[in-house]
């Protein structure tokens, strides 16, 4: 081998000298093609070969190295050998870094300046662990190589020198890794070529036979590019995940998936898929945890982050998980907002705040959901059932709080009206839950109406015991009478003036006026509830109240003879004015019913 190298280099020297002479003889305009080709060779193969030859020349009793083709020297230089424990220098070595081996040699004659070394040890680069030893007071520019049972510590003369060593070793290792993948790829290509062999036979006459081959080589280089990218992908993915650049991480995963999809038979890609899988699942987990974190404690919480995490999960193909977590996240966010509401003593505003939180959450969720899950309609039903749950939870809270705070009809009705307004808003984005709301609260509404009826009846029955309430109203002066007339006119009783007499009296007794006022308040409140299910209760309520009031007139007339005329006048007002008025209002609520007594 050694001789062969010598022969070759001799030949080369001869050739180049020949060329030089021919150049001289053809000074002007001779072709220099041969020389050019010679130079390019020098830059690649021959150079590599020479460098190896140099190694073999300078290192005595070096094991054969030329047995592996394409082996070449990457770097060489002097290193100080140190004791691993004490850091004391134990000697000086000459190190050679080949593309796949690391060789150590010792100087033969320490005094001579001649570069002659004796082979010491050789390491397989692929298995070699290299450790960068950080500088300390005692040690600078050092690195370690571990190859069980050997642990060797070296130091370079400068940090630059050391970095060159580490960098070159790294490059060589990387190249080895790429190569092993390429080898597998080749194996694969051979297999697939075998498969396509029979197809080719039919194409024998094809004049364009060359073109598919060309595209094949093109595909090959394309593939190599992809592979070298794939080589780095796991690392890149780790960095992206660790730095929480989740979008970037998802991009990488999607890219890999696409490669796999495009090359379903390629086992190389599947191998990468395995390596990516673990990282992917950890990414999914991180994203899921982000969504799981309670919003008040999550640093990056809030709808915006949730939205991003959701879209990333969807891209990773975890749409149903994303959907579930998104909705859980929305619920916990709503819960958090709910906890922020403090009861300030005003029931109505308190309940309205609760309503606000629920419906804002529903509305926002609806919009976010629509955007995020556009491409996954299968998640729609999950969302609808979530809304359903939310509404139910809202209704329970709504009912409990109103009960707990013993809210009156007016407050309750206002809160119901408020909720109804919000439900209408939801309908605008295609979520209609009014029916659910009504259905859940139907019995409560009816109870509310019944209770209201009870209360009013009680008022009437108490009033019927105070005979002075059934006398004509004395408003003291004409001015107050006018005011009184105006009030009732505004309420919708235009005939009120015909009951006035003596410039300060009205035939309408206090009990009637009180009843009118109460009835109107009840009407206003019940109007707000706007629920068909309560119609019969409403009718029942008013007809019963009117009847009860009317009966009171009769009872008073019987007991108090002197009040008979006044009672007659009041009965007249009751029949001619009040009854049509209430009927009209009830009809306006959508209840077709004629009240009678």
């Amino acid at each position: 081998m050694y001789e062969l190298i010598h022969m070759l280099s001799d030949q080369k020297a001869l050739l180049s000298s020949l060329l030089e002479t021919s150049m001289l003889s053809e000074k002007n305009g001779g072709t220099s093609e041969v020389q050019d080709s010679m130079k390019t060779n020098e830059n690649s193969d021959n150079y590599k070969y020479q460098s190896l030859a140099y190694l073999l020349e300078t290192v005595e009793s070096c094991p054969p190295l030329s047995d592996v083709p394409n082996r070449y020297l990457l770097h060489d230089g002097k290193l100080n050998k140190l004791d691993c424990q004490t850091y004391a220098q134990t000697g000086e070595v000459k190190a050679f870094l080949l593309n796949d081996r690391f060789i150590l040699a010792e100087r033969i004659d320490k005094k001579s300046s001649q570069d002659k070394y004796r082979f010491d040890s050789i390491f397989e680069l692929e298995k070699l662990a290299v450790v960068n030893v950080k500088d300390s007071d005692k040690l600078k520019n050092a690195f370690q190589i571990l190859d069980f049972p050997n642990t060797l510590l070296f130091s370079a003369d400068s940090s630059k020198q050391k970095n060159i060593w580490l960098e070159k070793i790294d490059i060589a290792k990387h190249a080895i890794a790429v190569k092993s993948i390429e080898a597998k790829l080749k194996e694969n290509m051979l297999e697939s070529e075998d498969e396509s062999y029979y197809d080719d036979e039919f194409d024998d006459d094809n004049p364009f036979r060359d073109s598919p081959k060309k595209s094949n080589t093109k595909a090959k280089t394309e593939r190599e590019k992809i592979l070298s990218w794939l080589q780095d992908a796991p690392d890149e993915l780790d960095v992206a995940i660790a730095q929480r650049h989740f979008d970037e991480a998802v991009d990488i995963i999607e890219k890999i998936r696409k490669f796999i999809q495009d090359n379903p038979k390629d086992s190389i890609f599947t191998e990468y898929a395995c390596r990516i899988e673990r990282r992917e699942s950890s990414l999914v987990e991180i994203l899921m945890n982000e969504l799981k974190a309670p919003p008040e404690r999550s640093v990056r919480g809030g709808p915006l982050f949730a939205k991003r995490a959701v879209s990333q999960l969807i891209r990773l193909g975890k749409s149903s998980k994303a959907c579930q977590l998104f909705l859980e996240n929305r619920s916990s966010l709503r819960n958090f907002n709910l906890e922020q509401i403090k009861y300030d003593g005003v029931t109505q505003s308190y309940i309205q705040k609760i309503t606000g939180v629920y419906f804002k959450s529903l509305l926002e969720s609806g919009l976010l959901f629509e955007k995020a899950f556009q491409k996954t309609p299968q998640c729609q039903s999950a969302f609808i059932s979530w809304c359903d749950k939310e509404i139910k939870s809202y209704v329970i809270l709504f009912r409990d709080r109103l009960l707990l705070m013993k809210a009156n009809l007016s407050t309750t009705a206002t809160c119901i009206a408020d909720a109804r307004k919000r439900l209408k808003e939801l309908e605008e984005i295609g979520l209609s839950f009014e029916y659910l709301f009504d259905m859940l609260l139907r019995t409560d509404f009816c109870k509310l109406v019944d209770e209201c009826q009870e209360k009013q009846r009680e008022i009437i029955s108490i009033d019927s015991k105070h005979e002075n309430l059934w006398r004509p109203s004395n408003l003291q002066n004409s001015q107050q009478l006018t005011e009184f007339e105006k009030e009732l006119e505004n309420l919708g009783f235009s005939t009120i003036k015909q009951y006035s007499y003596d410039s300060c009296f009205s035939h309408l007794c206090s009990a009637t006026v009180k009843f009118v006022r109460n009835i109107i308040v009840v009407l206003n409140d019940l109007e707000k509830i706007k629920c068909e299910s309560i119609y019969s209760s409403v009718v029942n309520c008013f007809s019963s109240l009117l009847k009860f009031q009317y009966e009171s007139y009769d009872k008073i007339a019987k007991e108090q003879h002197e009040l008979r005329t006044t009672i007659e006048m009041n009965k007249k007002f009751f029949k001619k004015d009040l009854m049509p008025f209430v009927t009209n209002r009830i009809n306006k609520m959508g209840i077709v019913y004629n009240l009678s007594v």
Binding site: N80, L82, Q85, T86, Y87, A88, Q89, E126, K127, L128, A129, V130, V131, N132, V133, K134, S136, K138, L139, Q144, L146, D147, F148, P149, T151, D170, A177, P234, D235, D238, V239, I241, A242, Q243, R275, R278, S281, S282, E285, I286, N289, E290, A293, P294, R297, S298
Partner: protein, 201 residues
């Protein structure tokens, strides 16, 4: 070389940081070495550090090999593990995967160390400051540590919480193991001596 003349104390305890990528091995190491916390993340290839510490009023040196969590090549990982006398097996309490992978690391270490169950080993749950993102419960980690017969320490490289404790716990284990082995060696030597004497007699 003059700088090597001053002999450092002879006892060197070799600690290896193992664990999945991104769990904070380097962050723990740097916090222990230089009391600093590095926010930026860059995957480690393999770095080694040495520091003089006082372990129970005895001056010793700690040699920390901070390995690459991403190292996929088993042969190289074996080479790292073989050089260690004790292991800090780190996972992130916010990442279930990293906790699960501690099992693989443990197995690999035991394989490399000829199934020596008493190999100095501390299970470390890092990122304790991110408690709100915790997915690995203390109970689960302690249960695993109990099964393995090792210590469990929860740390935060960010706040330095328990960082020294985890390293010193491991250092004590390494020291005790070395003392034990030394005692065992002298015993066997004595036995050998006795035997020899018998032969002479």
């Amino acid at each position: 070389m003059s700088k090597n003349k001053a002999q450092p104390p002879s006892v060197v305890h070799k600690v290896i940081m193992v664990g999945s990528g991104g769990v904070g091995k380097s962050a723990l190491t740097l916090q222990f070495m230089y009391e600093e916390f590095v926010e930026d993340y860059e995957p480690t290839k393999a770095d080694s550090y040495r520091k003089k510490v006082v372990l129970d009023s005895e001056e010793v040196q700690i040699d920390i090999l901070d390995t690459a969590g991403q190292e996929d090549y088993a042969a190289i990982r074996d080479n790292y593990f073989r050089s260690g006398e004790g292991f800090l097996c780190v996972f992130s309490i916010t990442e279930l995967d990293s906790f699960q992978q501690t099992v693989e690391f443990r197995e690999q270490i035991l394989r490399v160390k000829q199934s020596d169950e008493n190999i100095p080993f501390v299970l470390v749950g890092n990122k304790e400051d991110l408690n709100d993102k915790r997915v690995v419960t203390i109970e689960a980690a302690e249960e695993r540590a109990r099964q393995w017969g090792v210590n469990y320490v929860e740390t935060s490289a960010k706040t330095k919480h328990n960082v020294d404790k985890s390293f010193f716990t491991l250092l004590r284990l390494i020291r005790d193991k070395k003392l034990q082995e030394a005692a065992l060696n002298t015993q066997t030597n004595k036995k050998k001596d006795k035997k020899r004497r018998c032969v002479v007699l």
